[in-house]
Symmetry: C2
Subunit: 119 residues, 2 copies
Amino acid sequence: MKKQIQIADAELPIMKVLWEKDNLTSPEIFAGMDGNISTLKTLLQRLVAKGAVRATEINSRTFRYSPIITRDEYTNASCKSFMQKVFDGSAEKMLLNFVKEDKISRKDLQKLLDMIEEE
Amino acid sequence: MKKQIQIADAELPIMKVLWEKDNLTSPEIFAGMDGNISTLKTLLQRLVAKGAVRATEINSRTFRYSPIITRDEYTNASCKSFMQKVFDGSAEKMLLNFVKEDKISRKDLQKLLDMIEEE
DNA sequence: TCGTATAGTTTACATTAGTAATCTCAAAAT
DNA sequence: ATTTTGAGATTACTAATGTAAACTATACGA
């Protein structure tokens, strides 16, 4: 049972950058992101501390960062716990809600169906 | 802009009980729930404090509790922020992921489609 | 070579969340 | 009337989160 690493909301944007392109230096990560630079440093640090991101030393005192947790791992775990929490683990309940609330249209559903059929 | 009331994970089970049946006394709420009774009291109190639950006095020092936030309000807000956070606000991305991960089957989708067609 | 910019480290602090024990005081029981 | 019970209030404490300033020491530019 590998203990679940929790990625906090404020940390997620950093993960997203690294999922897009990894092996970046911290300035590369932070360029394009908004928020206070000190805060971003702290968040990156915490991600490294909790084992979500790996820091590889290049020069002494500078690193390149890469995600250890994959986007899929994160997404799957989040979806699962979200579905569990809000819809008592029922995907159908969730879907139904999305349809009722017009978050998804008939067309979207059809598109999805087609996509499945193709495989 | 009504400020978003956040319902914490540990508080949610109490809300779920009240969404099922409201105007309950605290012993009625807690019966059937598990967890330390003191903890449950704290959580109920916090829900009242943050305006998610209304306490109506019956005798002095005893109350009946009812949800102020509706299940739909909660569900919609949660879905929205979850989708925003994880799927950058795209319902399709999310659905697609659920399908890819086999959380939803072709059959489920078809059922939904049928359901929509009927209206 | 020396100064400086800055990547990374340390420290800080308020808030929320999870968990729970203890206290208070009226209502119910005897 | 007195005791007991228990609903609700108060207090507590740790961990996580969001936010950010200050410090340190090196790599690079002048």
